[in-house]
Amino acid sequence: MIQQIPLSWYLIFAAMLFCVGLFGALARKNAIAILMGIELMLNAVNVNILAFWRFLYSDGVGGMVFVAVVFAAAAAEAAVGLALIISIYRRRNTVVADDIDLMKG
């Protein structure tokens, strides 16, 4: 039997991927980069879901279904987000997140 990669490795990898995504989302000025950070965090979640499913509940397909749903949501989110950013760019000629503060109270 081949030595399996233990669950904790997957989790650590997912946590690291999440932190990279979080950092990107919080620290980057470019709105597209923020979107990319969010994609990373979603994928970290996916990794987590798949890992838990493979190690704990491998007899069903629930984990894969969830991941597929997350992918769909992520794709939709990316499509809407990019469209919004393009629209903002056309109007205000910027993609810097801090400059887009129309909702300031």
Binding site: L22, A25, L26, A97, D98, I100, M103, K104, G105
Partner: protein
């Protein structure tokens, strides 16, 4: 159809005509007068049928035509309305129907039917005349049609309805309804030209003056009802038991019996309606209305109704009196007021220059005659004079309207501005207006009692002879003097109007009136002559007995036969000679004094009477006296007491105090409750919300990454809390 049924129908056509004209045909002149005249014609027809069947019935006074229905339930029985024709109402209905019909027909011409519309005419003002194209070069005008033509016919129809109702009524209640309706109609018709202030004032004056009498009359009716429980003639006036009972008991007022008191109260109503002193002031002013209205008021309706009522309640007035004995106090009141009014009004008539005003005062005077006759018990003579007077006074008024019309025509033609009613602006009209002249002459002779040929002679002579034979010497003398004055002012009127030469250009251009006006004059003139032949006393020298004294027999059956008649028929010739002398003498004197009056001359009487002349010219200053004694104080009370004190001071003061108190209370509530508590709470909630918002808006930076950091921090915080909770929870 039974006679009773027919009597019910007599008053209805004019009422229907009134409704039709007012509701539907008021814009159509011809249709309106056709409706009114045919309604009057129907009533006339019914009246004639009823009159002749009444005249042909034996014992009518004991078994009158009567029919009644229950109307208003009272506690014990019903107030009834009904109709009744007895000899008295039969002769009433006869002359009312004739005069009403004549006046209706005459009105068509009087209101210039068929003439063009006036150029400057205005509803509420008499027509001013219309300029015609073909007359343009002379600047002449022709009379123009009355702007409110249909309205006139509607109102006189209602007037006629009221009079017919009053006459055919079988009780005092419906009589009173007709009575008051006439007051209402006279108000509207006297004020027919309501845009003239004088007409308005006259209308109010007529209404209020007659109202003074009506209040007392109503009191009399109430007293009668409370004593007998009925108002119908059959149960009260024609019931000797009831009358005797009422005559026996003293009323405790002025020593009158109850019957006497009721009679007196009702008689005060008569004073108002029939314009007796001191309530006579409205009648001359009523001349402000159109002339057919004057004829209506003076002959067919109003004043005749007053005397009719007095005759009707004669059993009450004379209760306890036997012919030949002392008069009852109420009869003394009637005799003195009547005789005084007869003389008093005759003197005023001497100095009036307005052709209609002379006739107005002569009406008052003649009504005084009737009342005086009634006061001395001459029941039949009073009724006779009432009927005769209605005919010749209607004739005289319509004649005077015709004269005014003719002179107005002259005024239009010449453009001369003279008063077409002033007799001093007339003269010589006999050639211009022959029919009017001859009919007016007959009417005037009847009024002055021209012997033998006129109706007025027979009726007046009967009153005088009754007064003489009954030894009412003062009444006899006063009435004889009044008759002399009557003849004098009638001669003055005829002489000034028709004889001599024209005193103005307008008068010389007068023309005869249209046929529709003079035909009624001719018919009434026939009555003014022949009506008197129905009542020639049997004992009259030469002529007595040629014709039966129908009137005496017919109406006389209403009362117990009175002593002076019959007994003293062939007695003294003094009253006959007196009436001959006063009437012929007065006429001759009047003619002689006025035959030479030229244009611009003063009234010859002015010189003769000296200081007395202004007094009668100004009607003894009675209007001025009433103005000072009643109207001014009434206005003063209204202003000072009612307005200034009651209204301004008491009521307004109270209201203002209430208002001020409420205002103060309001201020207190506002300052101590509304502003601090209610407003304070509201404001605090608003301010608090705003402050909170100010704090919270600082968080709303609009920068997405700051939100995310915040969310992260919250997530971490919540995570730590959860962690600590589970950690501690497990411990």
């Amino acid at each position: 159809m039974s006679t009773e049924m027919l009597i019910w129908l007599i008053p209805l056509p004019p009422l229907l005509a009134f409704a039709l004209i007012v509701l539907f045909t008021y814009k159509k002149h011809a249709l309106s007068h056709w409706i009114a005249v045919s309604a009057a014609g129907l009533s006339w027809l019914g009246s004639m049928v009823v009159f002749f069947s009444a005249a042909g019935k034996e014992g009518l006074s004991h078994e009158p035509f009567r029919s009644f229905i229950n109307w208003l339930p009272t506690q014990r029985n019903f107030l009834q309305i009904g109709v009744q024709i007895d000899p008295l109402s039969a002769v009433m209905v006869f002359f009312v129907a004739w005069t009403v019909l004549m006046i209706f027909i005459y009105s068509i011409g009087y209101h210039n039917y068929g003439q063009p519309k006036g150029t400057a005419d205005h509803p509420g003002l008499p027509p001013h005349g219309a300029a015609l194209k073909k007359h343009k070069e002379t600047g002449g005008m022709v009379p123009s049609v009355e702007p409110m033509y249909a309205r006139f016919f509607a109102l006189i129809s209602l007037f006629a309805f009221a009079m017919f109702t009053l006459v055919v009524s079988d009780n005092l209640l419906t009589l009173y309804i007709g009575w008051e309706l006439m007051g209402f109609c006279s108000y509207f018709l006297i004020g027919f030209w309501y845009a003239k202030p004088s007409a308005r004032d006259a209308a109010v004056k007529a209404f209020l003056t007659t109202r003074v009498g009506d209040v007392f009359m109503l009191l009399g009716l109430v007293l009668l009802y409370s004593q007998t429980g009925s108002l119908s003639y059959a149960d009260t006036l024609a019931n000797p038991v009831v009358i005797e009972e009422l005559a026996k008991h003293s009323s405790g007022i002025l020593g009158l019996s109850i019957a006497g008191l009721i009679g007196l109260l009702i008689f005060i109503g008569v004073i108002g309606k029939s314009a007796q002193f001191p309530l006579h002031v409205w009648l001359p002013d009523a001349m402000e209305g159109p002339t057919p209205v004057s004829a209506m008021i003076h002959a067919a309706t109003m004043v005749s109704a007053g005397v009719y009522l007095a005759i009707r309640v004669f059993p009450l007035i004379s209760a306890g009196w036997e012919p030949g004995h002392a008069l009852t106090p109420t009869m003394v009141v009637l005799a003195s007021i009547g005789a005084f009014t007869a003389l008093f009004a005759a003197t005023i008539a001497l100095a009036q220059n307005d052709i209609k005003r002379v006739l107005a005062y002569s009406t008052i005077s003649q009504l005084g005659y009737m009342i005086a006759a009634l006061g001395i018990g001459a029941y039949v003579a009073a009724t006779f004079h009432l009927v005769m007077h209605a005919f010749f006074k209607a004739l005289l008024f319509l004649g005077s309207g015709s004269v005014i019309h003719g002179v107005e025509h002259g005024v239009y033609h010449t453009g001369e501005h003279v008063d077409p009613q002033n007799m001093f602006n007339m003269g010589g009209l006999r050639k211009k207006m022959p029919v009017t002249f001859w009919t007016f002459l007959l009417g005037g002779l009847a009024l002055s009692g021209f012997p033998l040929v006129t109706a007025g002679f027979w009726s007046k002579d009967e009153i005088l002879s009754y007064a003489f034979k009954g030894d009412y010497f003062i009444v006899f003398v006063v009435l004889a003097v009044a008759a002399l004055l009557t003849a004098f002012y009638t001669a003055r009127q005829i002489t000034l109007t028709f004889l001599g030469e024209a005193r103005t250009k307008a008068s010389s251009h007068a023309v005869e009136s249209v046929k529709v006006m003079i035909i009624p004059l001719i018919i009434l003139a026939v009555f003014a002559v022949t009506a008197g032949w129905s009542g020639i006393p049997q004992g009259f020298p030469l002529f007595g007995g040629i014709l039966p004294n129908w009137f005496e027999e017919f109406v006389g059956s209403m009362v117990k036969e009175s002593a002076p008649h019959g007994a003293g028929e062939s007695g003294s010739l003094v009253p006959l000679l007196t009436s001959l002398v006063v009437s012929l003498g007065g006429l001759a004197l009047g003619w002689w004094v006025y035959k030479d009056v030229r244009a611009g001359m003063n009234d010859p009487l002015e010189r003769v009477l000296g200081r007395f002349y202004p007094l009668i010219k100004n009607k003894y200053y009675i209007d001025e006296f009433y103005q000072a004694a009643f109207i001014k104080p009434a206005i003063w009370i209204a202003d000072k007491v009612a307005y200034q004190f009651l209204d301004k001071f008491l009521i307004d003061g109270f209201l203002h105090a209430v208002a001020k108190g409420t205002w103060r209370l309001g201020v207190i509530f506002r300052n101590f409750f509304d502003i601090p508590v209610v407003n304070g709470t509201g404001d605090a909630i608003g301010k608090g919300t705003q402050g909170l918002g100010d704090v919270l808006r600082k968080m709303q930076t609009g920068k997405i990454q700051q939100y995310m950091i915040l969310s992260l921090l919250v997530v971490i915080l919540v995570g730590v809390l959860f962690y600590l909770y589970f950690l501690l929870g497990r411990v």
